[in-house]
Symmetry: C2
Subunit: 178 residues, 2 copies
């Protein structure tokens, strides 16, 4: 596989694993990129288009586009064909954003779910990554990153759950987990 | 060990391990907290007080205090006593911020280093965490989180390096890693 060359070059980063911090780490990268004057853009495959968690409010203020592409909890949906269609339409939008070169950093949050369900095609995702403009960074998050994606990516971190507040009966805290 | 009770309660989160994304995930939490109107504050034990990476520039714009408490690469320093003193003075400032209740979220970035070096005392850190006001969230990052801290924390994630761009000879990219 060929990769973009040059001193400033876009990286492909993967945050995977069953622990907390995958989406959050992607948000941190967005903040860092903003501080350097980069233009980040975020697509969230498993969030509803009208999601308004803490990060959405903050990013709106910062002028960072963040788009929910799903219908909320798609994996529990009784209308899987609708979920699949939403994911495919969302992927087309995200792929265009990566290919356009208009964005220095594109976050594909929770893209591993639609990949695992076969709603979007891994080979197509890899092709969009390979063909992207040299300077474009792409971050992909979600449990169960496919082997071929791990192989292609520049940096891969597995967020491993050591322990989680939920397991001790503590409900999700606003501002920390949503 | 007693923990604060009540519906809204501060969590202790630990991001540890040798992978990328620990500090970045903490920054993402800051962004999320901001979106909920919380007041976050960041202490960075291994960053120089005049550090100006991407995150510093972005956080300054957002009005989030971020303080470097170290002298840069302290672990390579030839004046370890000076590094130890800086860490201890920094810890006193951070401990006051946690205890004050003036901040909803306090990030103790890379605190595992001074803990490992014995520059600051683990029991003292645990005591400050235990005694903190009920609503205060604290995030601690760095490799090699001590067992007693993992035990006390509500949520612990190990960021495991699967692969890293450095290893393939790709230099750190501005806006992504600093």
């Amino acid at each position: 596989m060929t990769k973009p060359k040059g001193e400033r070059r876009g990286l492909v980063l993967v945050y995977t694993g069953d622990g907390k911090g995958k989406t959050t780490a992607a948000l941190g990268l967005v903040l860092r990129a903003l501080g350097r004057g980069f233009r980040p853009r975020i697509f969230q495959f498993m969030k509803h288009e009208r999601a308004a968690f803490g990060e959405h409010r903050a990013l709106e203020k910062l002028g960072v586009p963040i788009e929910g592409l799903g219908d909320g909890f798609s994996w529990r949906s009784r209308d899987l064909e609708k979920s699949a269609e939403l994911a495919r339409a969302g992927w087309r939008r995200a792929a265009e954003a990566v290919a356009s070169g208009d964005w220095d950093l594109v976050v594909l949050d929770e893209i591993m779910y639609p990949l695992a369900f076969g709603w979007i095609d891994l080979d197509e995702v890899l092709e969009v990554l390979r063909e992207r403009p040299q300077n474009v960074h792409v971050v992909l998050t979600g449990r169960g990153a496919p082997e071929a994606l791990v192989e292609y990516a520049d940096t891969v971190t597995e967020m491993k759950k050591v322990k989680h507040a939920y397991d001790a009966g503590i409900p999700a805290q606003k501002g920390m987990e949503h």
